[in-house]
């Protein structure tokens, strides 16, 4: 069932959650593996691998050099250890840095040329890729039915972008939405200008690694004054074993434009851990607005903490122009270890940044996530709403920075971080950094930690819900502010995930 089938989010909320819990019975829903022949680069990371990745993507020399420079830099860097996460040391030489389905050796002309098995994969994931394609191909934009909003999907299967739907309609609007490897070929001037301008090559250990070895990702350019006619979406999936996925996303919203971007992630079940180090860069010019929503559901490992994805992600948006606006919304339910801080640089005067986050950790999961709001321009505004839910023996940390520079006069920040603990063996932590360097700005920070309320539980139980249903309902209520900030399609999926993630956390 696709989430699109239901249109009314608010009424459907609790019913959906309860259904979802029943349906999946505590198993990781996306834990199957597609058996497709894969093309691997040899294990390990050397300049030759970097060159190989670059060559396989058919990149020009300047890009290869850029990667090699990042590789050199990476060799001199140390893995960060300040986050409240604990995992065995990663052997960066025991990873595959490139894998692609063999049938992709020659790029398909259209989605019809794509291996049907792949399409089957997406179907299981619930991406309405095929239907969307038909919709776009046959009827065009105007024929889209009222109940389903259109979403253009760029699906990344391991390291290669499989197909980008809706190309025609986007093209008519002037929007460029393609894989980053295509963008390097077809729009080198844009890539050269913006790549690495928000997250510099030397930014941090994982971002530098990504700069050297990123294999694919999405590229979006919205020209001045254009309101992107549909929501853009990328669906990432790690399929192959021992494969690191290093995607790179670059979004440019030119003056006065608007785009909403959705990102979803899943990975099959494996008992060894896998590495994922992505970089997302967003550039927002004057009066433009970008919404970036993520539902992260990478495989979290089993109940005993075996396997799972290490998710080390650098995401940053730069509001370069005046009145630029960015909104990050994330639902983090997966991954064994999450290290992720989607940030906003509020450079333009009157620019705005928002961050809404739900992070759920269960069993042995560990999440250290939050945001940075760097206020540089005058009258800039930011808002942070973070909801952390910890169950089992999981650790959940909010780590954030709010910085008001001396020139960011009359700026405003409001931060709220709430943590909910389910069970007495888990942990919930809050580590905010607040730096105020002028007095006309106002900064407010609030944080609370509590457990699931006994009275609420009693109320639900009395009405015939079992303990797990009751907890799922209460948690959905606790996280409502964030769920409501998600685009509709994602809100549905997110609510189901909330319930699924908390399976086995009570009783």
């Amino acid at each position: 069932m696709s989430a699109l089938d239901t249109t009314n989010v608010k009424e459907g909320v609790d019913r959906e959650t309860v259904d979802a819990v029943r349906e999946v019975g505590g198993k990781y829903k996306y834990g199957w593996e597609t058996e497709i022949e894969m093309d691997y680069a040899p294990k390990g990371l050397t300049p030759d691998i970097v060159r190989l990745i670059s060559e396989k993507n058919g990149e020009p020399d300047w890009m290869t050099d850029w990667r090699l420079a990042a590789y050199d830099r990476w060799l001199q860097m140390e893995e960060p250890d300040w986050a409240m996460v604990d995992y065995p040391e990663i052997d960066f030489q025991d990873q595959y840095y490139y894998a692609r389905p063999k049938s992709m050796a020659e790029k398909p002309k259209s989605l019809d040329d794509v291996d049907p098995k792949l399409l089957e994969t997406y179907k299981k994931l619930g991406i309405p890729l095929k239907e969307q394609m038909i919709l776009a191909g046959v009827e065009g934009a105007e024929a889209a039915p009222a109940e389903g909003r259109k979403v253009a999907v760029d699906a990344v299967f391991d390291s290669v972008s499989v197909g980008t739907t809706f190309q025609k309609e986007l093209k008519a609007a002037g929007v460029i939405f393609c894989s980053i490897s295509e963008a390097i070929r077809d729009h080198p001037e844009l890539v050269k200008k913006y790549l690495g301008s928000v997250v510099p090559v030397s930014d941090n250990f994982y971002a530098t690694l990504n700069s050297a070895v990123f294999s694919d990702g999405s590229f979006v350019y919205v020209p001045p004054g254009v309101r992107c006619p549909m929501e853009l979406s990328t669906y990432f999936r790690i399929n192959a074993e021992n494969t690191g996925q290093f995607e790179r996303t670059l979004i440019i919203a030119d003056k006065g434009s608007y785009v909403s971007y959705l990102e979803g992630c899943t990975a099959p079940m494996r008992d060894t851990s896998q590495l994922h180090a992505a970089v997302v860069e967003i550039i927002i010019e004057e009066d433009a607005e970008v919404k970036y929503s993520t539902v992260q559901n990478w495989y979290p490992g089993d109940e005993n903490g075996k396997g799972g994805i290490y998710n080390f992600v650098t995401k940053r948006a730069d509001c370069r122009g005046d009145r630029a606006k960015v909104m990050w919304t994330q639902v983090e339910t997966g991954s064994a270890v999450t290290w992720k801080y989607p940030s906003c640089i509020l450079r333009g005067d009157d620019s705005q940044g928002e961050f809404y986050s739900i992070a759920i950790t269960n069993h042995h999961q560990q999440a250290d996530t939050g945001t940075k709001m760097v206020h540089l321009g005058k009258r800039t505004k930011s808002r942070i709403v973070s909801k952390g839910i910890s169950a089992g023996v999981a650790q959940n940390t909010y780590r954030g920075l709010v910085s008001m520079h001396p020139k960011a006069k009359e700026s405003r920040n409001y931060t709220q971080c709430d943590s909910l603990l389910i069970g007495d063996k888990c942990g919930a932590h809050t580590v905010p950094y607040i730096e105020v360097k002028n007095n006309s700005s106002r900064v407010e920070h609030e944080a609370t930690t509590s457990k699931v309320d006994d009275d609420q539980m009693f109320y639900c139980r009395q009405r015939g819900m079992d303990e797990e249903e009751a907890v799922a309902l209460i948690v959905n209520g606790f996280a409502k502010e964030v769920l409501q900030a998600l685009p509709m399609e994602f809100a549905m999926e997110a609510q189901q995930l909330v319930a699924i993630s908390l399976e086995g956390s009570v009783g």
């Binding site: 069970g423 006309s440 609370t448 509590s450």
Partner: protein
């Protein structure tokens, strides 16, 4: 990881200026502390725990000079009935001090009692300080344990009939002082401890307090007004069942102040309140670093810190509530607020929660901003002159911290000092 060379050099340079007191019951603890300082090195600029405060002035081989400030007002707590102990540049002044005799209290000096082989303070000296070194190291406290030249050892067996006041005078602009106090509160004992004065050009002060079951310890401190003085203070407290701990610090002026407070609630139903009010003008950095560990059932902790800053003054707050697994029914509260009176001042805060128990209610809040224009307008509309209106609002801002002082007379004394400080700066 090996210590950075710069840090190693700075530590060696500082240690070269000091000599370890030998002999007596404290010697083992001193030697152990020195080893720890050598292992960790003194705080450096790149240490995460010193992110907002540059430790250079506090760790430099020799202290920067601090001019003596001519106090233009009556001594703090001068009117309170007290037992007074006076230190001048860290040296005990017997003539200016009261007789060290008080019912239910035994008072000794570290410099004198330290030569004996057996002493009750042996079990505590450096012990609480070591406990406070995890999970974050506090090398300045270890340095103090190793090299402190004097301090008071107070053993309280019942309810002390009047407060003990430690008065610190500063007479040499180059003085560099380390004092180490140990206080043992027996079950059911009660004591109010007052501290006042600038101590020295640079001071490093450690106070270890063991509060046994049902005992109550009250602490009110006024740090001296000398503009150039530098201070690093540490309070280490261990709280037993149903004990109560309260500490309030007022700071006005001082180029560099780092007040660390490390409290461990080890007995059920204990309560700890730590509060601070600071007022800074110009070249002023004030850092409150608090670490409260809940390791027992049904305990309460409260941190209230207020800072008024002007003319480029900097306020820092690092507060942490750690709730260990099993410390159920914990009630932890923390608030840090700053009032920035002009565009140049800044407030840097890191209020942390680390929680491993589920049945707890913990919250923290932190705000920063200018004076409320609406409130100012309200007062101005009623004929209150601008300067006085601003002062009134500033005092009301500081009030929440002052309210943490239990004794109304002592609170009044603090408010008087605050009013005077504001009045001197009124345009």
């Amino acid at each position: 990881m090996a210590m950075a060379q710069a840090k190693l050099d700075a530590t060696d340079a500082r240690l070269a200026t000091l000599s370890l007191p030998t002999g007596g019951w404290a010697e083992a603890a001193r030697r152990d502390a020195l080893t720890r300082v050598q292992a960790t090195g003194l705080p450096g600029r790149r240490d995460e725990y010193w992110k907002y405060t540059r430790p250079d002035m506090l760790t430099a081989a020799t202290a920067a000079e601090a001019a003596i400030f001519d106090a233009d007002e009556a001594p703090v707590f001068g009117e309170v009935d007290q037992l007074k102990l006076v230190f001048v540049d860290g040296v005990f002044d017997a003539a200016a001090s009261d007789d060290l005799a008080l019912d239910h209290v035994r008072i000794e000096r570290l410099a004198e009692a330290g030569s004996a082989d057996i002493h009750w303070a042996r079990d505590l000296y450096g012990t609480l300080e070591i406990a406070g070194q995890t999970p974050v190291v506090r090398p300045l406290a270890a340095l103090n344990t190793a090299f402190a030249t004097d301090g008071v050892l107070i053993h309280v067996t019942g309810a002390a009939p009047k407060p003990i006041a430690l008065v610190y005078h500063h007479s040499d602009p180059k003085s560099d002082v380390m004092l180490h106090h140990v206080i043992r509160m027996d079950a059911g004992a009660e004591l109010t401890l007052l501290e006042s004065g600038p101590v020295a050009a640079r001071c490093n002060m450690v106070m270890e307090i063991d509060v046994a079951d049902s005992a109550a310890f009250n602490h009110v401190r006024v740090q001296g007004r000398d503009h150039e003085r530098q201070a690093a203070t540490h309070i280490f407290a261990r709280l037993g069942q149903e004990s109560r701990f309260k500490s309030f610090t007022m700071t006005a002026n001082g180029v560099m102040t780092r007040n660390e407070c490390v409290i461990e609630l080890t007995g059920d139903d204990a309560s700890a309140h730590v509060a601070g009010a600071c007022m800074g003008d110009g070249d002023f950095l004030h850092d409150d670093t608090v670490f409260i560990t809940h390791d027992a059932l049904n305990c309460e902790s409260r941190q209230v810190f207020k800072k008024v800053l002007r003319n480029g003054a900097t306020g820092v707050f690092q507060g942490k509530i750690l709730v260990k697994a099993g410390a159920q029914k914990t009630d932890g509260y923390q608030i840090s607020q700053s009032l920035l009176l002009d565009e140049d001042s800044q407030f840097l805060a890191k209020p942390e929660l680390e929680i491993y128990a589920d049945d707890v209610a913990c919250s923290h809040g932190s705000t920063s901003g200018a004076i409320d224009e609406d409130a100012l307008f309200y007062l101005r509309a009623r004929g209150v002159p601008h300067g006085i209106a601003t002062d009134l609002l500033t005092l009301s801002f500081l009030a929440e911290a002052v309210e943490e002082i239990e004794d109304a007379g002592l609170a009044e004394e603090i408010v008087t000092r605050m009013e005077a400080w504001l009045a001197r700066r009124r345009g």
